[in-house]
């Protein structure tokens, strides 16, 4: 690794803006030669963060206004997420040249110490194959990753308290029923862990230092990082940055709750279809539209347990071709 030291910076409680820009600034610093760094911070008030490539209209702006939430775009992946002071954020930032070649493997190797830190605090956490840290089938930590300049950063969190309602409502959805179902899925598959942030922080420092073969040492921002921070503070509040690239809207609304669990919604010609899926199987389905002649509920029950492909075939075989096509669109849009 780039040096013998794992720099540890605990920023404590910071503004929503700084809870994003600080770790981006660290990536600039590590690119410029600062040591690998483990950083921690807790936002002092709630806000919404959206992934680099995502459309701003995936966020429900009315709901955000009502709750007084600002939206910030981050330079790592993933969808819109609600963030508040019930979440301790941590970031591991290493030189890109020191990260494992394959991104999926690099992500795992940089998240495994976090899973170990959870276990050290008494939580039976495992790093799932698809990268979520989970207890049983419930995700207990969100994450994102990316290369910023010549540094690789993995961002994750300890969720001590999770506001499922806010987390579901800040996501723009086709209708209220979809939002309600999304909240239900989040309650089922996303869980807070009642761990002391101090205990977790101490365990994370120990585990990351051991995994990287470095000596943990408290540090502070370098001059490069302080300069980058000023620039990022301005960039992240600029409309152009927030708006993003204005990508075309996908034909199917889709939200991932955790790896392997997601919701999808599609509509056309007065028909609508909503599916909740877990590990490839439909666990909830709702079909609506005048041409179904009241059969929507029965069809929803009929496809429960099917794959999307199975549901499409079942609907087509029953003569509901348009509905089958909607489910087919969901399948293709995956």
């Amino acid at each position: 690794m780039g040096g013998a030291t794992l720099r540890v910076i605990d920023f404590g409680r910071v503004s929503p803006l700084r809870s994003q820009t600080l770790w981006h600034a660290i990536a600039h610093g590590v690119s410029a030669g600062a040591p690998p760094t483990l950083s921690f911070m807790q936002p002092e008030s709630p806000y919404v963060s959206i992934g680099f490539h995502r459309r701003l209209d995936e966020v429900d702006d009315e709901e955000c206004r009502r709750r007084g939430l600002r939206v910030f775009r981050r330079m790592v992946g993933g969808g819109p997420v609600y963030i508040d002071n019930g979440q301790l954020f941590f970031q591991i930032t290493v030189p890109a040249s020191a990260a494992t070649a394959m991104r999926a493997r690099a992500l795992r190797s940089l998240l495994e110490p976090a899973a170990e830190a959870f276990r050290a605090t008494g939580i039976a956490a495992l790093l799932e194959d698809q990268g979520d840290i989970a207890v049983g089938d419930r995700k207990i930590s969100g994450h994102g990753a990316g290369q910023i300049e010549q540094a690789v950063t993995v961002v994750a969190n300890l969720i001590t308290r999770f506001d499922h309602t806010a987390a579901a409502r800040i996501i723009a959805a086709p209708d209220v029923a979809t939002t309600d179902e999304l909240e239900g899925l989040m309650r089922r598959y996303v869980s807070a862990t009642p761990v002391s942030p101090e205990a977790f922080r101490a365990a994370a420092v120990e585990r990351y230092a051991a995994a990287l073969g470095l000596d943990a040492k408290a540090g502070a921002l370098t001059d490069v990082e302080t300069a980058a921070l000023a620039s990022l503070d301005a960039e992240f509040v600029a409309d152009e940055w927030l708006m993003g690239a204005g990508r075309p809207a996908p034909p199917v609304w889709r939200v991932k709750v955790k790896a392997g669990v997601h919701m999808a919604h599609a509509a056309a010609d007065g028909l609508s279809a909503r599916l909740s899926l877990a590990h490839g199987r439909i666990i909830g389905a709702s079909f609506a539209g005048p041409s179904l002649n009241g059969a929507g509920e029965r069809l929803g029950h009929a496809v429960c347990g099917d794959t999307e492909e199975g549901a499409r075939r079942r609907l087509a075989a029953a003569g509901f071709d348009q509905l089958a096509e909607l489910v087919g669109a969901m399948e293709r849009g995956r």
Binding site: H53, V76, G77, A101, M102, R103, A104, H143, G146, A245
Partner: protein, 149 residues
């Protein structure tokens, strides 16, 4: 075409080995793309954001940003220059195009280098490129595969 540990390395172009990037000069323009190693390391792409035509880029700057799973990373330009044509349509039609066909249909962008003799890092060709890339593949311990299918 050389193939090493499943990684295809066409011999008709130059390589920025460290950047996992290929470069094909077409008159005063340079067509850029990710190598088989790059698409393997990245995994299935889920999104790409291109710098628009007319935008200036620095040597070593980003011509596009790609996302695979929750990982976002840049595609670096070997030259200072101007973006002429990003391969937007092909990626819009099939986001996995660079995973399927990184050297032809899945090219990333066409640019006009200010000075093609001054790349950010050396661009290697022929046997020199193959030897250097084979060494990198070993160093990275990568075996290539086309994960798109």
């Amino acid at each position: 075409m050389s193939v090493y540990r499943g990684c295809h390395l066409p011999t008709d172009r130059a390589y920025d080995i460290e950047g996992d990037l290929w470069v094909k000069m077409e008159g005063d323009l340079a067509r850029l793309g990710m190598t088989d190693v790059a698409q393997t390391r990245m995994g299935k792409m889920v999104s790409v954001l291109f710098k628009r035509p007319g935008r200036r880029v620095k040597a070593g700057g980003s011509v596009a940003t790609v996302e695979s799973a929750k990982w976002v990373g840049p595609v670096h330009s070997p030259f200072e220059g101007e973006i002429v044509e990003p391969n937007q349509e092909a990626f819009d039609a099939d986001i996995l195009i660079a995973n399927r066909d990184p050297y032809e249909a899945g090219w990333v962008t066409l640019m006009r280098p200010t000075d093609p003799t001054k790349p950010h890092r050396p661009l290697l060709e022929g046997d020199e490129a193959m030897e250097a890339y084979i060494a990198r593949i070993d160093e990275l311990d990568v075996s290539c595969f086309r994960c798109a299918d």
